[in-house]
Chain length 329, copies 2
């Protein structure tokens, strides 16, 4: 089988968060039956992101693994650290681009309690990430959340690989496997692998345009000084990820039934305060502790840049070289 004769090129991570159970369950299935994942000939490395947290059915043990890939944390050798930083270092040492089994692309499979559907998250504006996301959007219509410029949320796994995306599927409760979530996860991953094979062979045609939702910032619930929420998400906003939010729209509901309407926050950039913003990750269970009730984005239609195609060509050369190297011991 082709995948066994090649060096790994694509790292597929499931269970970076231990209470997201759908992708890890698929991973076990693919490990038992490799033919169950149509990998389009790409050599893949299947990895459980945070085995200890998975075992405990917790998002993490000591800190969020998917906020632990900061260069300063990864580099700080000898200093006291924690389970997740150790695991981040281990993943980079084993599968990073200079690792024991070097991978060029990281696909990190997540699920969420938010109604994100089948979606992609891109961190920053690396041309290869944007090109791959644009191709996935052209093939499957997946919406893209471009996370950038948020110093309070950084250190994401995929940033440590030359090319990487998060595939985010929801809504699904934590700790629970649901068939449609698995189906969507598998579909997005299989098409990602097919596109990477097309990139490697030089056959991929990029679309002319891509729609991205650029991260602007996040809103928390209104809270008492002690941190108790004074309101919850308004039912007219729950499960309305990707749908425009306009000033005056119902946003929160206090427990007496009073509606709190959306008012653009002071930090919103000029020119965005009067028009609609597009919320994502609405009422994600794990984000309460981060002070995030929802994140606001700006919907942008971008022309695909010539530089993205150039970046893909460079990736194609690397993927082809990896395929020729064959598997290391």
């Amino acid at each position: 089988m082709a995948a066994q004769s090649q060096a790994p090129a694509v790292l597929v991570v499931a269970g970076t968060h231990g209470n997201e159970r759908n992708a890890p369950w698929l991973l076990q299935h693919w490990q038992r039956r490799p033919s169950a994942l149509a990998s389009s000939g790409m050599a893949i490395e299947l990895v459980l992101g945070n085995p200890a947290a998975h075992q405990a059915n917790l998002r993490y043990l000591e800190r969020d693994l998917n906020r632990s890939f900061q260069p300063e944390l990864l580099a700080g050798d000898g200093q006291p650290t924690c389970a997740e930083v150790e695991r981040a270092r281990e993943l980079v040492a084993r599968f990073g681009p200079q690792g024991e089994r070097p991978c060029l692309v990281a696909l990190d499979l997540h699920s969420t309690t938010s109604a994100m559907g089948n979606a992609l998250v891109v961190y920053g504006r690396r041309p290869t990430d944007l090109a791959l996301a644009a191709a996935l959007q052209a093939r499957l219509g997946l919406p893209i959340y471009l996370h950038e410029a948020d110093p309070s949320q950084s250190g994401f796994l995929v940033e440590c690989w030359p090319c990487g995306l998060v595939i985010e599927v929801g809504p699904v409760p934590q700790g629970l496997i649901q068939a449609p979530i698995c189906r969507q996860t598998q579909l997005a991953l299989e098409v990602s692998l097919a596109l990477l094979a097309e990139i490697r062979s030089g056959d991929l045609k990029l679309p002319q345009r891509v729609v991205v939702h650029r991260h602007l910032g996040s809103l928390d619930l209104p809270r008492t000084p002690e941190g108790t929420p004074l309101a919850c998400l308004h039912p007219l906003r729950q499960h309305r990820d990707w749908q425009p939010l306009r000033p005056g729209d119902p946003l929160f509901l206090d427990p007496s039934g009073g509606t709190l309407s959306y008012q653009p926050p002071a930090w919103l950039e000029d020119g965005l305060a009067d028009g609609p913003v597009v919320p994502v990750f609405i009422n994600e269970a794990a984000y309460g502790e981060k002070g995030i009730a929802l994140s606001l984005t700006e919907r942008l239609v971008w022309s695909v840049q010539p530089g993205w195609g150039d970046a893909l060509k460079a990736l194609a050369v690397q993927l082809a070289a990896a395929a020729e190297r064959g598997a290391p011991l």
Copy 2:
């Protein structure tokens, strides 16, 4: 205010499971603003069931508090124990019928990832429980799950009070507050308190019939010998709590897309194997570790028994006596 001049009569517990967040959030609201809960003049005691687990946002720390009210656990003084057994003893010592602030009725507010809607759970066939549940069903149409005769699941909180019900609302992910879940919880609690006030005054008229769903047993997912699930809930069964399941109906889906149909288990009682059973708690996230993918029930229409009314009259006498005693220091 009436509630402050009386001894407590009704114990309202929220957060018996620490990752069920809706009722505890309401509880904080009611504590801040007692008028926000229409308590119909009943003196109530509002208690967070498992504060340590709530703080940690975990169902429990060491063992399920709502399986820790077995007489032998409660009685075993001096023996090594755990946080939840200690908490069970504390709740009984403080609010049990012979406690410091004796309560006669316990209403335990839960949520679930299953699509149970707004539902009642009754443990065993105590006449007062069945009478109160029948009255709630007549008023709000709530379905009733009669849990009994399951030695693997015992030690429920409400069993330690002379009368007690679980109000179970779902679906909602663990760790998450959703406005409709709160609304349903508050509605069921307010009507319960109104009915208890009617019971106390002798005004309550019981309906002639009640529909109960009698627990028969539970089914687990098919698993490998190591415990890995070989299939998940079939999407045609997910969120179909309370809807009949017939032999041959799709029940599980394996990750290759193969359907496993429902076949009546060998333990099913004679006469129930050929007809429909009614599943409840389908794909509840917390029940995976208990080996429960869904529970099967038999739908029964019962005539309300004269003994239930007699039990309510006895409860009315006790409630009236409690109201006259006034609040202890």
